[in-house]
Amino acid sequence: MRLDDQTRGDFPILDRIVNGQRLVYLDSAASSQRPRAVIEAMAQYYATSHANVHRSIHTLGEEATALYELARDRVQRFIGAASREEVVLTRGTTDGLNLVADALGRTLRAGDEILITDLEHHSNIIPWQMAARDRGVTVRSVPVGRDGRLDLDAFDRLLGARTRVVAFAHVSNVLGTILPVARLSARARQVGAVVVVDGAQAAPHLPLDIPALGCDFYVFSGHKMLGPTGIGVLWGRREALEALEPTRGGGEMIKEVWIDHARWNDLPWRFEPGTPPIAEAVGLTAAIEYLEKLGMERVTEHERALARQAVEQLGAIPGVTVYGPPAAVDRGAVVAFSVEGLHPHDVAALLDQEGIAVRAGHHCAQPLMRSYGITGTARASFSVYSSPEEVSLLSHAVGSLRSRL
């Protein structure tokens, strides 16, 4: 059975009619939809077990704590982490990257360098600019070729004794390029740099064995992997997390507090001040269990076939440019394209009138757009419920766009 045939009925939103047409949702890279299992788990939690976690000595508090901490165990299993202490629950990828950048930034000195790449999402650029600011630290960036691949020679050249942090995406949110994380991490660690990986576009689509990647930190979001908004994961190698000074204070992240000082709590709670997103953790657990039941190898295979189909069909339309690696090269579940003479927002608006939801614009990757000499693209992206028929509908609609404006 095809994966989308198996899953489609689990996603109530896919029955929606948009502008008179059955919704064709091809914007899962921005945010995926949720299966009923996730929606119901969260509703059930609120209806039966909600209380604050960790310090509530009563039945509901204990239930809520157990459910919240269960999410950590599920994440640990999903990403192959060595221990649950290495799993910090955050508010999302942006939150996780800011947490790491802020904490690492405080250890940087004038002359140090942070190395990123031209294909980063703004959330893996701006936190590093902020970390560098006022410290005499320089942010450098590795260029990307027309084929969507990172210039590995430039990476090796730019990496040096001054490089203290190397941060890059596992999968590009625009080009779909899969970066060779293990190779980049190994090189970076040779010069003693800390390696931070933005896994927002990888975790929903690829089987993960994070420790094998050789990085120090790996960050992703729940809402792109069938889970709720407002929750994400920061994985850190234990030694890397232990070396990190918390930058956000509050309840739960401390062991003992005096007026003028405090002792931090153990990992991972030292990085989780305040009341965490408890219902969202429950939803994340349900999302992970749903994905595990499907099997991530199967998910990858399904989405890869859709991406290849989209690259081939869109690429065959006159006046359409497809960005990123060629069809034969493995990519993530995104395909960016442009239609000659049409602005990406007009492409998206015209497709929306057919009930087809795609992203358009700079995709929070303005440096990448600039390096390609464009202001934006349209982007179709896929998830477990996306079908080959939907890709064909998209291609057919794109083929007739130019006659419509």
Partner: protein, 123 residues
């Protein structure tokens, strides 16, 4: 394929295909430029203001059909007006000419050229 209703009115299509005010004003006395942070669209306007009146307005830029059409209408509505009148141009004025059902998410596409004009007219 169904006809395109609502958002892309005939006026927007016409103005986008054949803008009347695209270009640069010769001997411009004021220039302004801005971007739409949502999409990165850029609009630049050049104006010639003499004796308190807007003699000529032209726009350039890289933008969507709605923003282009809005820039074209904004230029038309302000040209020949006293500068103070042109500075009070609103999105409603432009929308009336565009005759389009522009949704809130695209309203900034309409508003950008107007704010660029206002920036250029600031003393």
């Amino acid at each position: 394929m169904t006809a395109t209703p609502g958002l892309y009115s005939d006026v927007i299509r016409q103005r986008w295909r054949q803008p009347r005010f695209r270009g640069e004003v010769a001997g411009a006395t004021a220039t302004a430029e801005d971007v739409n942070p949502l999409c990165g669209d850029r609009v630049r306007m050049t104006l010639r203001v003499r004796d308190g009146a807007v003699e000529a307005v032209r726009f350039t830029g890289d933008s969507c059909a709605i923003c282009s059409a809005s820039a074209d209408v904004t230029a038309e509505l302000s040209e020949g007006q006293p500068a103070a009148t042109a500075a009070r141009l609103t999105t409603e004025d432009v929308l009336t000419v565009l005759q389009a059902d522009v949704r809130p998410t695209r309203m900034r596409c309409v508003a950008l050229p107007i704010s660029v004009l206002q920036k250029a007219l600031q003393p």
